[in-house]
Amino acid sequence: MMHASASVLLAVMIGTALPYAAAAQVSRIPGVVPRPFTAIAHKDLTFGQVLPGIPETVRPDDVRHAGLFEVQGMADGVVRVEFLLPDALVAPFGALLPIAFGHGDGFADFSRGRPPRGLRFDPRTPLIATLGPNGRLLIRLGGTVTPARDQAGGPYHAAVSITVYDLGI
């Protein structure tokens, strides 16, 4: 949305001449300055200690372990959120730990508090959501890792990204 503002400065000498006296009238057309549109990564998705052969799931409404993003923009703005999700976590020595995301592993949190309240969604598909009256939206992410019976021990990690598109109001 394009905005323009213009200022008009008008200086007029009015009335009985009073040297060097001038009355000025200024009018200004107000413009709408959009709030900065940002996406913020607040918290990693953490599965903690995982045992070989035993899948481990983090619910998206698990405030301790679920990943957490925040979108900030115009109040009541509409946004499109797309996730870039990994297929596996990787150990420093190259071993892979499969990870999966499914229906309900995404959570659009409208409560801004505990316990979280909102709507669950499938993070594998784009999310269309409205920012709250304060121009903010919290998005939580869960998932499931499936270690093999002979899964090599050690730390595993992978990046999870979101791209958010501002669709306006």
């Binding site: 959009p34 730990l97 992410l141 998932g143 899964q151 501002d166």
Partner: protein, 170 residues
């Protein structure tokens, strides 16, 4: 004579200022990490540390290594202490060189498990999968010997082949 006040000329200045339209950012990106720590077995690795070297062999004379410690092939394996594993060898039937190929064979006692290297070894049949354990320190050393049988008319030269060890947890 009175002086008629004069209106000073009106001065009008119009200043039209167009502010640059605020360009709205339309996309944003953010990334987090997905993290897990697997309480699992140590990764298993195998490293070839010595080639099976028959040295100088006379044509027409079957030859085996005279010093297993220095001439037998050898791999160092690391993994979960005490874990059972299976070891399989892919063995050639010939060594190839400038003069063609020469036969190589492996008997039921040509597989070696060093306990420890280079002082003590036990033998196993390298032609079939071998079941053993990684030791308490997470190490295992396996070796391979064999016999080459160059025909009498074998051309002088170097002859080589590849022996592959595959280890996996049970």
């Amino acid at each position: 004579m009175s002086r008629v006040p004069r209106l000073l000329p009106a001065v009008a200045t119009l200043a039209l200022v167009l502010a640059s339209p605020a360009t709205a950012q339309t996309t944003a990106n953010a990334s987090i990490q997905a993290l897990a720590f697997v309480q699992g077995v140590a990764p298993i690795t195998a490293t070839g540390v010595n080639d099976l070297d028959f040295g100088i062999v006379l044509a027409g004379t079957p030859t085996s290594p005279t010093s297993l410690a220095s001439q037998a092939g050898r791999w160092d394996i690391t993994g979960e202490p005490g874990a059972p594993l299976t070891a399989s060898l892919t063995l050639p039937v010939t060594l190839d060189g400038a003069g063609g190929s020469i036969p190589i064979s492996f008997s039921a006692t040509d597989g070696l498990q060093w306990n420890p290297f280079p002082t003590t070894s036990t033998t196993f049949d390298p032609n079939i999968p071998y079941l053993t354990n990684i030791d308490g320190s997470g190490n295992l050393t396996l070796g391979i010997s064999g016999t080459v049988s160059p025909p009498a008319a074998t051309t002088t030269g170097n002859y080589t082949g590849t022996i592959t060890l595959t280890v996996s947890y049970l």
